[in-house]
C-alpha cells in the first residue's frame, strides 16, 4: 500500500487536473454557477423548516440553523458517493487507453465535493454571523475548533466508501441504484432533521444509543451540531422532553477509528481489483 500511495503522489497533478475539471464543469466558470449549487440545499432546508414549523407545529428556535448544520455534511456524503458510483464508467476511454493510478478517479470526486462542502460551510458561517449581529443569535463557541477534525474524519469515511462503491459499480452496474435507495433510507436514520437525543429518548437504552452512534455519519452529524451550535435547552417534541447530552469523546474516538478502518480497507479492496477495470468497462 505504501508503494501505491507513492505512485498516487507522483500523479498528484492528474488529481488536481481532474478536480479542476470537475469544478469548472459544475460552476461553469461563473459565480452564479456556485450560487446554483447552493440553491438546492438552501431551498431544501427552507422547505423542511416550513414543514416542521408550520405544518407539524414543532416550535424549535432557530431550527433552520440546526437543520443546515446537519444537512450540509449529509449533502457532502451523498453527492460524493453518488458521483463516485459513476466516476470509473465515465472515464472508460481513458482507462482503456492510458496507464495512471486508478484511485485518482474516486479521489478526485471526493476532493471536488470536499471543496463544494467548504464553500457551503463558508456560506453557513456567514449566515450564523448575520444571525448573531442582526437577530441577536448565540455567539460562536470555541468548540468550532473541532471542525477540521470532524471534516477529516468525514473525508476519510467518504473516501473509503467511495473506493468500495466506485469499484463494485464496475462489476455490478446496479450498485448505483441500490446506493440511491440506501442513501434515501439513511437520510432519515441519520439525525439530520431531528436531534440525536430524540433517538436516545425513544430507544431508552444507553447501549442501543451507543450502537446507533457507531454508524459514523450519525456520530458525525451529531458532533457537527454540538460543536458548531449551542445546545438546545428545554425542548419537547410531541410530549417527549429532550435532554441535551454533551459530546461523548469516547464515542467520537470510536467513530474516528471506524472512519480510518473504512478508508484503509476500502483502499485495499480497490487496489486488489483496479487493474481489471480496463477489461470490464
Amino acid at each position: 500500500m505504501v508503494n501505491e500511495l507513492r505512485e498516487l503522489l507522483r500523479y498528484r497533478y492528474l488529481l488536481a487536473q481532474l478536480v479542476v475539471r470537475d469544478i469548472k464543469v459544475r460552476y461553469k466558470n461563473s459565480f452564479l454557477g456556485f450560487l446554483w449549487s447552493l440553491a438546492n440545499p438552501l431551498l431544501q432546508v427552507a422547505t423542511m423548516t416550513v414543514v416542521i414549523k408550520y405544518v407539524m407545529r414543532l416550535d424549535i428556535p432557530n431550527y433552520s440553523a440546526y437543520l443546515l448544520v446537519g444537512y450540509l455534511p449529509w449533502m457532502f456524503f451523498q453527492m460524493a458517493l453518488l458521483d463516485s458510483s459513476q466516476v470509473v464508467l465515465a472515464h472508460r476511454d481513458l482507462l482503456r487507453k492510458v496507464y495512471f493510478p486508478r484511485e485518482v478517479l474516486p479521489a478526485s470526486v471526493v476532493v471536488a465535493n470536499l471543496i463544494h462542502y467548504v464553500l457551503a460551510l463558508v456560506v453557513f458561517f456567514a449566515y450564523l454571523l448575520f444571525y448573531r449581529f442582526f437577530m441577536h443569535g448565540a455567539p460562536l463557541q470555541w468548540t468550532v475548533l473541532w471542525l477540521p477534525v470532524l471534516m477529516a474524519m468525514q473525508t476519510a469515511l467518504i473516501i473509503g466508501l467511495a473506493f468500495y462503491i466506485s469499484c463494485l459499480n464496475v462489476f455490478y452496474e446496479d450498485v448505483k441504484y441500490l446506493l440511491t435507495v440506501l442513501l434515501n433510507v439513511f437520510f432519515y436514520l441519520t439525525p439530520v432533521m431531528y436531534p440525536a437525543e430524540l433517538v436516545a429518548e425513544k430507544l431508552n437504552s444507553p447501549l442501543l444509543y451507543k450502537l446507533y452512534l457507531l454508524l459514523p455519519m450519525n456520530a458525525l452529524v451529531d458532533a457537527y451540531r454540538k460543536t458548531l451550535l449551542p445546545p438546545i435547552t428545554g425542548l419537547t417534541i410531541r410530549d417527549t422532553p429532550i435532554h441535551s447530552q454533551p459530546l461523548d469523546f469516547g464515542t467520537m474516538a470510536l467513530a474516528m477509528g471506524i472512519c480510518v478502518l473504512v478508508a484503509i480497507t476500502g483502499y485495499a479492496f480497490f487496489n486488489a481489483r483496479k487493474w481489471v477495470f480496463a477489461e470490464r468497462v
Partner: protein, 253 residues
C-alpha cells in the same frame, strides 16, 4: 540488463468472456456457487526483449493480440502471468483522443494529457509552444476538442507524445489518419527519435511504413509470436500466410 528498453518474460493474458449475466448484483447473488466466467486466451507465452534505440513494428491480423501486447507494455492491462520490465519514461498513443476531454480546448487538453503522463503544469508550460507548433493547429488550439477532425486529433496526440521527450514511444496504428504531408513530418520526427537512441514500438497495418521505419518486426498471430526478425523477412512470411488464407477462401467460394 540496462541496455534493454522493454523486456517481456513468459507473458500470458486471458480475458473473462463477459456475458450479460455477469453484470448484475442479482445474478451474483443467484449464482453463489460461483461458476467463474469462461476465459478466452489473448496472448500466449510471449517472450520479447527490445534493446534501447531499436524501432520495432508489430504486424498481424485484426484480433491477433497486437493491441493487447501494446496495452500490456503500456501497463493498461496486467498480464495473467509473466513479467514486464521497461526502462525509461514511456509515452503512449494507443488511440485517437484517448486522453482528451471533448469539452476542453486543445490547450487545456495538452495540460491534462501531460498530467496523465505524470508531468506538472510547469513541465508542460516549458513544452507547450513546441507542442502547438508541431501540431500545426494554430488558432484551433483554443477551441474545444469536440470540434476537431480525426486528423487534427491525431496531430495533437502525436505532438504531445513526441514533444514530451519520452525514452520509449508506443504507437497503435493511429498515424494512418494524418494527411500525406503530416505523415512525412511524423516519419521525419520518428527518424530524429531513432538518431537520438530512443526506442519505438508501433503497431501498423501499413507494411510499407513498417519497412521504411523499422529494422525489426514482430508478427503476432493468434496471440503468439509467429515471427521476429528483420522487417523484410517477417513481412514476407506474413504476406505469404495472408495469400495462402486468401486462396483457401477463394476455393471455398
Amino acid at each position: 540488463m540496462t541496455n534493454c528498453a522493454i523486456e517481456l518474460q513468459g507473458i500470458n493474458k486471458s480475458f473473462a468472456l463477459l456475458r450479460e449475466k455477469h453484470m448484475s448484483l442479482k445474478s451474483a447473488v443467484l449464482s453463489l456457487r460461483r461458476r467463474k466466467p469462461e476465459q478466452v486466451p489473448g496472448l500466449c507465452d510471449i517472450n520479447l526483449s527490445i534493446a534501447k534505440g531499436e524501432t520495432v513494428a508489430v504486424v498481424g491480423k485484426n484480433g491477433s493480440g497486437k493491441s493487447t501486447l501494446l496495452r500490456i507494455i503500456a501497463r493498461v492491462y496486467r498480464p495473467t502471468s509473466g513479467t514486464v520490465v521497461t526502462n525509461g519514461r514511456m509515452s503512449t498513443m494507443l488511440a485517437l483522443a484517448a486522453g482528451f476531454h471533448p469539452e476542453l480546448t486543445g490547450r487545456e487538453n495538452i495540460y491534462f494529457n501531460g498530467a496523465i503522463m505524470g508531468l506538472s503544469s510547469a513541465d508542460i508550460a516549458d513544452k507547450i509552444d513546441s507542442i502547438i507548433e508541431f501540431s500545426e493547429l494554430d488558432e484551433f488550439v483554443d477551441t474545444p476538442v469536440k470540434t476537431y477532425s480525426d486528423g487534427m486529433l491525431m496531430r495533437l496526440g502525436f505532438s504531445i507524445a513526441v514533444e514530451t521527450d519520452p525514452d520509449i514511444l508506443l504507437i497503435d496504428e493511429v498515424l494512418a489518419v494524418g494527411d500525406a504531408g503530416f505523415q512525412d513530418k511524423c516519419y521525419n520526427r520518428i527518424e530524429a527519435f531513432q538518431r537520438q537512441g530512443r526506442t519505438i514500438l508501433f503497431v501498423t497495418h501499413d507494411l510499407e511504413a513498417a519497412a521504411k521505419v523499422a529494422s525489426r518486426s514482430i508478427w503476432i498471430n493468434s496471440g503468439k509470436v509467429a515471427a521476429d526478425g528483420i522487417t523484410a523477412q517477417v513481412i514476407q512470411q506474413y504476406l505469404n500466410s495472408l495469400r495462402q488464407r486468401g486462396s483457401e477462401e477463394k476455393e471455398k467460394i
